[in-house]
């Protein structure tokens, strides 16, 4: 074996050794679970009673979609959660980013302030908002009383008509910082000449936003939008920590239902079906968003 070949072989070996921990992690903790839960979704498998999964094909999916009323509740709740969450998080962070970008000073300060909730764990956010919205001691009800809106006070997480939206606010507050930073990055990349040219042509601030800023921001809107969209369906920690899916099942989400199926009923096949249906919905919505926002040039 030539010296050159030996060196090349050694280089490849080193490469493999350095990649080994990452590869083990990816295959062990991401690749295998995805493939195995995909297989489980075509089976009936009670983890406590059954030695092995029983293959049932698409029957489990059909039963889940057509006959499982809790799945229907979870899906409906998920949609009710996703729509306000998407609009609040996406548009609020976009508006804030545009406004912060207009500031001459303190851009970094505001960027940091809005990003800070991102570093707090979701369960801590849940506990914090449980206190803020506590019916008797909570800050939220107290503020309502102070401004003369005492009639609006209620048990926000204990009332089925408001519990889900309470979670929307808590999650939007936490997650807004990321999209804000993405949008600020996009705004910084828009050449100043373009806005200046628009101003010379007589465009006001609103026209600048509509005709210059937003078209140039499209790739960032796509990234931010898909991020928000994915997160609008990945909802588990808040309902688990704050409401346990209740009152009744008012805050049962798809992920939480998948968890309940797996870890309360030990029905691994059904849990995988819900997880895969959720993943399919996310992928489909992301594709639609990609279609409308992707730049062809």
């Amino acid at each position: 074996m030539s010296q050159e070949l030996k060196r090349k072989l050694w280089d490849k070996t080193k490469l493999f050794i350095f990649l080994l921990p990452t590869l083990v992690f990816i295959f062990g903790f991401i690749g295998f679970p995805i493939v195995f839960s995909g297989y489980l979704s075509f089976t009936s498998f009670n983890y406590a009673k059954d030695a092995l999964p029983t293959f049932i094909g698409l029957q489990g999916y059909a039963d889940m979609i057509l006959h499982d009323s809790l799945f229907h509740t979870a899906l409906l709740n998920q949609i009710k959660f996703a729509i306000p969450y998407f609009f609040i998080t996406f548009f609020a962070s976009l508006i804030l980013a545009i406004l912060i970008n207009e500031l001459k000073r303190w851009v970094t300060l505001f960027q940091t302030i809005y990003y800070m909730p991102m570093i707090i764990s979701m369960s801590l956010v849940g506990i914090t908002f449980s206190w803020i919205m506590n019916p008797n001691l909570g800050l939220f009800n107290r503020v309502l009383q102070l401004v003369g809106l005492g009639s609006l006070t209620r048990n926000w997480f204990g009332d089925p008509s408001t519990a889900l939206y309470g979670l929307v606010i808590a999650r939007s507050w936490k997650m807004m910082g990321f999209t804000l930073v993405v949008f600020l990055g996009g705004l910084a990349s828009i050449p100043g000449d373009l806005r200046e040219a628009a101003r010379i042509d007589g465009a006001n601030f609103w026209q600048e936003v509509v005709y210059v800023i937003l078209p140039n921001l499209k790739p960032y809107l796509l990234i931010g939008g898909i991020w928000v969209l994915i997160n609008s369906f990945k909802v588990f920690v808040l309902p688990q920590v704050v409401t346990e899916g209740g009152p009744g099942f008012a805050t049962l989400t798809l992920y939480y239902y998948s968890w309940k199926l797996a870890f309360e009923r030990l029905s691994m096949g059904a849990a995988s079906q819900v997880a895969y249906i959720t993943a399919f919905i996310i992928l489909a919505l992301a594709a639609v968003m990609n279609y409308f926002l992707s730049t062809s040039d």
Binding site: V24, L70, G158, E244, G246, G248, A262, E264, L266
Partner: protein
């Protein structure tokens, strides 16, 4: 080159070390390992009785640990692989243990029921809560032994009852019959006038929902299941009547329905609520705030002294794969079924001992309430543990809770439960 070699060694070390650590841990555990959730550590003198046990057996070392949140799949995975993190688990309700019992993962403990732990030494139906059909259908067995009991009972705040004119001859006036709806509602209306935090509290979470619904139906009729055994009674006149009354209580504001146990207990512990339908132990906890046991008294729903109420238990159990089964049984007998363990919990938290002998000397409070509690407990029944209990409870929760809160009509809720639970497996895992 040297730096690269060091890096390679480090990468290999990072990859391989966890495997060695796991292997070493598996070898290290040689003693009796006892797991219990944090609330057991708080409400039972587990550390003390364990220390006594070790002193009595100097050659035995007990590792006492706080169990994390219960996760059946986590432990079943271990058991499938032939190992276990613990030899004894102290704690576990029927619905929690259902999956592991139906999967036949627990060691039969029936051979312990002799001497001081003979079957007739247990109170009422408490032992029945640990009696199950064998998963292979061949007879019955005791895969878990109940060590504490709770009875669903109505607790009242004596001060508020007196102010409401519902106190007579040193005890609360009985609740009027369910058949006289007007008198029944008036009773709670009177309490409401003197109870700023609510006349009557019920916790409508997944667990207490069962007792809130089934207890009064049992008190009314002597049964709370459908005649064919397929689930709770959802078709009888009593079922319709009680769910309708629950709605009415909520609508009229005499019923304060909450959705979490924490919310229920915090309302009750303010001392400004009139009555509370919950576990007798939780009702007693008001006294830990006021330090005066005359602040509360117990009542049954009308008919419960004859027809009983709902009881539930927490059990101690041993995984089949444990290599310390005999030692585990010895620990259970000497520590968990000791008078110190069971009476301390009653004297501090109102958890009922399961052994009749422990109701005498050593009990320091509520002696005057014992007759009411025990007469209801003796006639009481545990909730059946259906094979599909988790799915069943989810469906019940979906419609029953909505109906109790007045968000769904009674007929619609009961019909929905009927149609969506028809195909479930109602085989009762408990021996009948």
């Amino acid at each position: 080159m040297e730096r690269k070699s060091v890096a390679i060694v480090l990468v290999l070390a990072i990859t391989i070390t966890p495997l060695f650590v796991l292997g070493w841990q598996a070898q290290a555990e040689k003693n009796l390992r006892v797991y219990a959730p944090p609330w057991i550590h708080k409400k039972f003198p587990l550390a003390e009785v364990t220390k006594d046990f070790e002193e009595n057996h100097p050659n035995i070392n007990v590792n006492l640990e706080k169990a994390g949140k219960w996760s059946a799949p986590k432990y079943i995975t271990e058991w499938k692989g032939g190992s276990t993190s613990f030899d004894v688990f102290v704690g576990g309700s029927g619905s929690m243990l259902g999956p592991v019992i139906s999967g036949n993962w627990l060691e039969p403990l029936g051979d312990m029921l002799h001497g001081t732990m003979a079957k007739d030494e247990f109170v009422g139906g408490f032992l029945a809560a640990g009696h199950y059909k064998k998963p292979n259908g061949d007879g019955t067995y005791y895969p878990a032994l109940p060590f504490m009991g709770e009875v669903a009972i109505v607790g009242v705040n004596t001060e508020i009852m007196k102010k409401s004119g519902l106190w007579e001859d040193g005890k609360p006036k009985p609740i009027p019959s369910f058949s006289n709806t007007e008198a029944f509602m008036n009773y709670f209306e009177k309490i409401k006038k003197n109870a700023p935090v609510g006349a009557h509290i019920q916790i409508w979470d997944r667990e207490f929902m069962q007792y809130n619904y089934a207890g009064p139906i049992l008190a009314m009729t002597g049964a709370f299941q459908e005649e064919n055994g397929k689930g709770f009674d959802i078709t009888s006149e009593a079922a319709h009547k009680w769910l309708g009354m629950l709605q009415e209580m909520n609508e009229k504001g005499v019923g304060e329905w909450v959705t979490t146990d924490a919310a229920g207990y915090s309302k009750w512990k303010t001392g400004a609520s009139g009555s509370f339908y919950a576990a007798q132990g939780h009702i007693m906890e008001l006294v830990s705030v006021t330090e005066d046991e005359s602040d509360i008294a117990y009542l049954g729903w009308p008919g419960s002294k004859e027809n009983g109420s709902i009881i539930w238990t927490h059990s101690v159990w041993v995984p089949k794969v444990s290599s310390k089964v005999q030692l585990a049984k010895q620990y259970i007998r000497e520590a968990i079924f000791s008078a110190k363990f069971q009476q301390w919990s009653f004297n501090n938290y109102g958890k009922l001992p399961v052994m009749e002998a422990y109701y005498g000397d050593g009990i320091t409070w509520f002696q005057d309430q014992m007759d009411t509690i025990l007469s209801i407990a003796n006639a009481s029944k545990p909730i059946p543990l259906y094979a599909d209990i988790d799915k069943y409870l989810d469906i019940m929760k979906k419609y029953l809770v909505d109906s109790a809160f007045g968000r769904m009509e009674v007929d619609k809720a009961l019909n929905k439960i009927k149609s969506e639970t028809e195909d479930l497996d109602f085989n009762n895992l408990r021996a009948e």
